[in-house]
Amino acid sequence: MLGKVNRTYFNGANPFHKKVDLKENIIVWLLLIAASLAILVSLAILYTLISGSIGFFFDPKVNILDFFIGTKWTPSGTNPSFGLLPLLSGTVLIAGGSILIATPLGLGAALYLTQFANKKASSIAKPIIELLAGIPSIVFGFFALIVISPILRQYFGASYFNAASAIIVMSVMILPIIVSVSDDSMRAVPRELKEASLAIGATKWETAIKVVMPAASSGIIASVLLGLARALGETMVVALAAGSVAKFTLNPLSEVQTMTAYIAQVATGDIPPGVAVSAAFAVGLVLFTITYIINLIAGRIVLKIQNAGGQASKNSKKIILKKPVVNKINTSTNSFLENKIEIKNINPEDTIKTRHKISSLGILLVGSCLVITTIFLGFLMFSILEQGLPGINLNFLTSYPSSIPSRAGIFPVIIGSIYLVGLAMIFAIPTSMGAAVYLTEFAKDNYYTRILRRLIQNLSGVPSIVFGLVGLTVFARIFGFGTSILSGSLTLAIMIMPIIIVTTEEALKAIPKSFREAARGLGATKWQTVRHHVIPYALPGTLTGSILALSRAIGETAPILFIASVFAKTAPDSIFDGFLALPVTIFFWTRHPKVEFQNLAASTILVLLIILFAMNIIAIIIRQRAQANRDW
């Protein structure tokens, strides 16, 4: 009819055969490898825990039943007792308590920032709160011990070491995670939904609570989970402030030991190999399982909320709503109105005054959440500044460490940390994005993938000291990189990957399906779609994850405790060199008998925060631009 078709792709071959695009396949494979790395680490840790636990349970001194229901944990000595309940109660008390405080505070602050604050205020407040995330946990630990604990002792009769001081500071510590990730989620709620609500005559408060929050529920829950994982895995604050005696109690005023504190004690200490050491594996396994179950439950909750709202998952697996929403209509008349009931007049005037009152009260409430957070931060910063500012001078910043406080400086420490963290981010960001993209865009949504996803989420709850041991064993010794920057940054990279993966995944989920469908409809391959139409919009989420990850990487001591040095005469030349790092130097100087070194520790903390802020600012600016460009 139309004559010979003379187009290049109809060159004799069947044009409807699936094109085997080598480049596309390679890229998908690379993404798969990225995802596998995270999974590999998870599985490796799980394997270690299981094999160690088997050794523990088969030890003659151990009674399995007693492990699960015993109330005494005295692992050392001639007559050890291995009842897990005290450690469990310690963990539940502290992690549970801090999440209970941090979640409403954090959600309130995020709500205020995204719905009620003006743009300028929120663009300043969010980075400041994220700065909180960078304060090393050792600072919080000392704050709990030196400032909070005396108050609790004086007015509440608490013991010297008590859980309450740990709970209070831990809430502030995980607050930035909840605020940051929820904030991202709430910002991603499409403007039209808010407009629809406002146009109906809802107040801003009602819109925020009834429309925005449910729409952002997936991200909100993810933020709480990340916060909880952080709380579960925290060691330093607990060891310093809550104590090291395992007690089966839920009384916050008493001394407790958490599961992570015990693991850390075994890992860093001199306890001889034996049943007390293998007990740590069993405890680690229990912790891993608990985190897994929490993630499982949270996943179900998200699915339920989404199904109630109607965002069908790829499988459209129907989950029955518990409550029937609607009365069954009368099928014979096909109507509710059996007896021609009068339609009630809607008189907005009846309720509007109350609604405005509630609205003002609500806004005040969430605004105060923000204020409380800021006050605590201010207080903390003030203490650090007071103790540390005097010590900061050019000499301090350009000298090398010394046994004499007046001569000691942190030049190589700064260099070491920047190298370390920079390299860690270079390893972590592409791999995490790749893993997240693979899991969200390419992997089939089946049982297997979901388990993998949960394994990765679990990683964020692993105590950092475990990563320290993994780093030492695997990177320094097995791979042979030694106590070098390379080992250190690889260790940090695997520790922070889960955070970036989770936030990127949330961002990817928030992108409307229509974007992808539009591109595919035009004939783009999956990878092209993802690269041009999905990843750019996920960028803000990745950046948030990176900011949080960076804060952890630069301030955590435990992962690099066995790899970093505390003294050297030269700065590192290459990534295979040994190095010093800010958190380890801080850790060492806070324990030093000389008070001058303790003051220098405060100065070092200030420097750490400044460097962190500088590194974060770039990410924050890019994120703000990316969020402004978002058009849905």
Binding site: W73, T74, N79, G269, S402, K569, T570, A571
Partner: protein, 341 residues
């Protein structure tokens, strides 16, 4: 500011940062011939190690902590040249790396090498263990080993201060004892209880520590500054820690005078008294065999040890808060120096 400007700004910052970094690097890479050594281990020895590494000219030594166990472990796997330990080498250290624990003697030396490493012990300083009580405590300022045993172990332990034999007469009140002291992962803990519990860590051990028995009186902490603060804040508290912390923070707590038995006289804890003070523990550095002067590295380690054991090196010790070897045992130094020749 648009995207391009931000990118440029970001690149500028990155360039500046790396510029500083590389400038710093080139500055210090002048002497390429210097030997590099690594020293790791006990956090008690750490301040000393830093002082020595700082003043020693013959090599570039990087120092890190991680605990005595880690130090010995790093030595045995060949990761570190020097392993600092505030305790002796134990069979368990050998066991951890897969060698026979029975090869380790009770002196903390090994009769046979492990995976090619022969751990060799060098005593480099002594640490005085101070027993401390609150400033308001007037009754427990002089204590014997027996009294310490009654307070710190689970063998019919005293719950109240006036239950401790001999203290009621000194005015001990009927108040509960609280203990703030190192945890079982610390070398100080190990040494303290070795002193007061017979057959410590042997199967015939006569009693448990109060921490192990779990009666809640013993509150451990890994941070000595915290122990100091805790004892300072609690009228009925008692604890023990390295004397260096007392030296640096005088007047915060009272240091008890110790006597081994009731016949001995009570000795005050101080650097001067160390020969008579019963609780002074040796601090060690372990190396792989006696450092051989034929290799560059061996020569450097040999010179380093020489420096540490020399008058110059030992003069640094009291400045850090520890005790010179010669003040406790004058014979060890010369014999160690002999070995190095």
């Amino acid at each position: 500011m648009n995207r391009k400007t931000i990118v440029k700004f970001g690149i500028l910052i990155a360039v500046v940062v790396f510029g500083i970094v590389f400038a710093g690097c080139t500055q210090t890479s002048t002497s390429k011939q210097v030997v590099k050594l690594s020293q790791t281990g006990s956090s008690t020895v750490l301040p000393l190690a830093i002082a020595w590494a700082e003043y020693f000219e013959g090599a570039e030594i990087s120092v890190s902590g991680g605990g005595s166990s880690h130090g010995l472990n790093a030595l045995l796997v060949g990761e570190s040249d020097l392993g600092d330990a505030s305790r002796l080498l134990k069979g368990s250290d050998y066991e951890k790396v897969g060698c026979d624990p029975k090869l380790v003697t009770s002196e903390g030396t090994a009769s046979s090498a492990c995976k090619g490493i022969t751990p060799t012990k060098w005593v480099v300083a002594y640490d005085v263990l101070a027993v401390v009580v609150n400033n308001e405590n007037t009754w427990a300022t002089e204590l014997t080993y027996d009294q310490l045993y009654k307070i710190f172990t689970d063998d019919n332990p005293a719950v109240y201060w006036d239950e401790v034999p001999g203290l009621k007469e000194k005015g001990a009140p009927h108040a509960k004892i609280s203990i703030y002291a190192p945890d079982e992962a610390s070398g100080t803990y190990d040494y303290f209880f070795e002193s007061i519990i017979k057959d410590w860590t042997k199967s015939t051990q006569v009693a448990q520590t109060r921490l192990d028995s779990g009666d809640g009186i013993y509150h451990p902490s890994a941070d000595d500054n915290v122990i100091l603060d805790a004892v300072k804040s609690n009228n009925y508290a008692i604890g023990y820690l390295g004397f260096a912390y007392i030296m640096e923070n005088p007047g915060q707590v009272k240091v008890a005078k110790i006597a081994k038995t009731s016949e001995d006289s009570f000795v005050e804890a101080s650097l001067a008294n160390v020969a008579k003070y019963p609780m002074a523990r040796p601090l060690h550095i372990y190396t792989n065999g006696i450092p051989n002067k034929s290799t560059d590295k061996g020569k450097a380690i040999n010179e380093y040890l020489n420096y540490i054991l020399s008058n110059e090196g030992q003069d640094l010790v009291p400045e850090v808060g520890y005790v010179q070897v010669s003040l406790v045992d004058p014979t060890i130094l010369p014999s160690q120096l002999e070995k190095l020749k």
